[in-house]
């Protein structure tokens, strides 16, 4: 049976017309047994208890939509997974190249926005394909076959060139520039788009522009009606110029909506031959940074202390062993156990840590506001009902002292990173 809601206009009409001879019958059909009866004196009597019906969760519902909602209420309409159409460009005549960042081999939200913009530019021209240029390995396997369900295909990429040999890893701007020049020579993209990100997209765009003698548009945030708007120095001005005046653009995040209405082929094409360059800038690797030197707003991993900490020496030791930046709730700061600049929350710092461990923090709104953009929150608390536990992705109920001691023992036993030496590579 089709679960589409069908309206019966005749019944609706009867329902609206109280003087219709069939009105009561139809109303009863819709809303249960006689809600309205004519009393002995001839007046209409309304029985409020008879109105409505009992919903699936046992709560009475009154249907004022004339039955159309009642039909839907029973079973949740099963939603057919719509397959997005696949759009293929078989013989591209031109390309819009996007050099994606792909940190950790996956598209970032910023990458997707830039690809969305590239899609718009490509679709505005004839037979133009979006070409993704990728440095480093891609997490989900790609192939020379069409692969529309690959994250790149879903993001609007027609063709992919991958440069993933050893020479492109780490900070290798010279070799990467050479690869971009090879793409420029062989495929001659009509435009080069970059996400305007510190040290990756931004640096690549400027290098390519300087080498090609092109004037780039950096910090662009809107492309509309053939004009590009970009932010000037100090973010004080908007500079608008013709889109046609530049081939190299670095785009801010949220410059355009990501692609979500079609799938594209994401087909790998042979990467052009790239000569090896003399690397004059040598990457000597990541340097250990004292986590407490990193500003709280920037830190990636925070161990935060609240009123539930009783052994402060142990807490500082735990932060050192884990290699985490220290944070605190307001109470810990007001009581003088932590300096003011360590306070997290509405009146402290809004942190962006990927992993946030809250030890003995109850989770007051003022504190939760400050950790709104943390990805993984771990709560250590004696109270299983507190708000921090509701927010946390993992909650451990127990005494903070005991659990921190066990955690430190665990980390030290496994010979894992110590605060001073172990640092993750953020390349």
């Amino acid at each position: 049976m089709s679960d589409l809601i069908r309206k019966d206009p005749r019944k609706d009409w009867i329902l609206r017309n109280r003087l219709h001879p069939l009105h009561e019958q139809v109303a009863a059909e819709m809303n249960g047994p006689a809600a309205e009866v004519r009393g002995p004196s001839g007046l209409i009597r309304r029985n409020p208890h008879a109105v409505g019906f009992i919903g699936p969760n046992g709560i009475k519902r009154i249907d004022r939509l004339g039955g159309s909602a009642a039909a839907a209420a029973g079973a949740k309409r099963e939603q057919k997974e719509e397959q997005l159409p696949i759009i293929a460009i078989d013989a591209p005549q031109a390309y819009v190249a996007v050099v994606v960042d792909m940190p950790n081999g996956e598209l970032s939200a910023h990458d997707k926005d830039v690809l969305g913009q590239a899609r718009a530019l490509a679709d505005a021209a004839e037979d133009t394909a979006v070409l993704a240029v990728v440095f480093g390995p891609v997490k989900a396997a790609l192939g020379t076959e069409a692969n529309p369900d690959h994250p790149l295909g879903l993001a609007g990429v027609d063709r992919v060139v991958v440069f993933d040999s050893e020479a492109y890893q780490g900070f290798a701007p010279e070799q990467q520039l050479e690869a971009m020049l090879a793409v420029e020579r062989t495929l001659e993209p009509a435009q080069w788009l970059f996400p305007d990100t510190h040290l990756s997209g931004n640096d690549r765009a400027l290098r390519l522009a300087a080498r090609l003698g092109e004037r780039p548009i950096m910090h662009a945030w809107q492309i509309k009606n053939g004009k590009v708007t970009s932010r000037g120095g100090s973010e004080l001005t908007d500079i608008t110029r013709e889109l046609a005046s530049a081939r190299i653009l670095a785009l801010a995040s949220e410059c355009a909506m990501p692609v979500d209405e079609a799938r594209y082929e994401a087909r790998v094409i042979a990467s052009p031959a790239v000569p090896d360059v003399l690397t004059r800038i040598k990457d000597a690797g990541a340097v250990a940074v004292d986590p407490n030197q990193i500003s709280l707003g920037e830190a990636e991993f925070i161990l935060s202390a609240g009123n539930g900490i009783h052994d402060w020496d142990q807490f500082h030791e735990a932060a050192r062993v884990l290699g985490a930046t220290e944070g605190a709730s307001r109470v810990a700061v007001d009581d003088g156990f932590m300096p003011r600049f360590r306070q997290v929350g509405a009146t402290g710092t809004w942190v962006t840590a990927r992993v946030y461990i809250a030890v003995g923090i109850s989770g007051a709104v003022q504190h939760l506001q400050g950790i709104g953009s943390c990805e993984k929150v771990i709560a250590i608390n004696t109270d299983a009902g507190c708000d921090m536990v509701k927010r946390a992705d993992l909650s451990v109920i127990g005494d903070s002292q005991e659990i921190l001691a066990a955690l430190m023992a665990k980390v030290q036993a496994d010979g894992a990173a110590d605060g001073d030496e172990g640092k993750h590579d953020v390349a």
Partner: protein, 276 residues
């Protein structure tokens, strides 16, 4: 004075650092000031051992307001600034390149992005391209390692650092994360010299064709507003809470087991490294 005593005491290891400074703009008030990154670059240069520092400015220096900003740089303890005079709205890069060639600098330090005008951050790259030198972005520390080799500490996102090695000559742009610059002293700023030099200026044609307006506020993206087809969907998208809906809760396990679960999560998130 300090510069010269160091210069003569150890002539063998000496090298020349050129720092390019520009007239900045306060991000809130819009008033001219020492550019933050340029003064940090100058601070870096002044803190290097056995170097002589040349500070170069290219621009329209007839304006008294701009001159007073240059005097703020002089107030950091400089004797003079080379000013290559340019007309207003001209492209400073050719003049800077010419000046750097004359100077035979080993290291060129600049800011990453100018505070006024287009602020594209192209200048250090164009200079490096014109001189054929490597360009290192986002430096926070530059130290000479001997034999013409330099070690550069580079600022990565999230407060991380990376060490790079490069041979002089090179160009490096300085990140905002570098150490704060010293204060400027008004009196020594007045004493220092602005040494002018005429190098032909090239008008910047592209910038004369663009429209420049005060920055507009960027519209906020509304979560999946485009996808929502019905009013109910839009309402849901606008009011949805982003907070996660509570995760695993461990109550009865022993402290060791609880610690193990936390530890596994930390390792899987990559915030601590497992050695074994």
């Amino acid at each position: 004075m300090m510069l010269h005593s160091k210069l003569s005491s150890n002539p063998a290891k000496n090298y020349t650092v050129a720092t390019l400074v520009s007239v900045g703009k306060h991000p809130k008030s819009g008033r001219p000031r020492r550019s933050d990154q340029d003064s940090k670059a100058l601070e870096l240069a002044l803190n290097m051992d056995n170097r002589s520092v040349h500070v170069i400015h290219a621009g329209d220096s007839s304006d008294p307001l701009r001159q007073s900003v240059l005097r703020e740089y002089l107030g950091m303890g400089l004797e003079r600034i080379d000013v290559t005079r340019q007309n207003a709205n001209s492209d400073a890069v050719p003049a800077l390149v010419e000046r750097l060639k004359m100077l035979q600098a080993d290291v060129v330090l600049t800011g990453s992005r100018a505070e006024s005008g287009e602020g594209s951050g192209m200048v250090p790259y164009l200079i490096a391209q014109a001189l054929g030198w490597p360009m290192v972005p986002a430096a926070v520390e530059v130290t000479a390692a001997g034999d013409g080799e330099f070690e550069i500490l580079q600022a990565l996102p999230r407060g991380q650092r990376r060490l790079l090695k490069v041979r002089a000559p090179f160009v490096a742009s300085v990140d905002s994360a570098a150490a704060e610059s010293r204060q400027t002293a008004w009196a020594s700023g007045q004493r220092g010299q602005l040494q002018e030099m005429a190098i032909g200026s090239n008008p910047d044609e592209v910038m004369s064709q663009v429209t420049v307006e005060p920055a507009r506020k960027r519209p906020k993206r509304i979560a999946s507003a485009k996808k929502a087809k019905t009013a109910a969907d839009r309402f849901k998208a606008a009011t949805a809470k982003s907070a996660s809906k509570g995760g695993a809760i461990l109550v009865k396990e022993s402290a060791e087991e609880k610690a193990q679960v936390i530890y596994d999560l930390l390792v899987s998130q990559g915030v601590i490294n497992k050695k074994k």
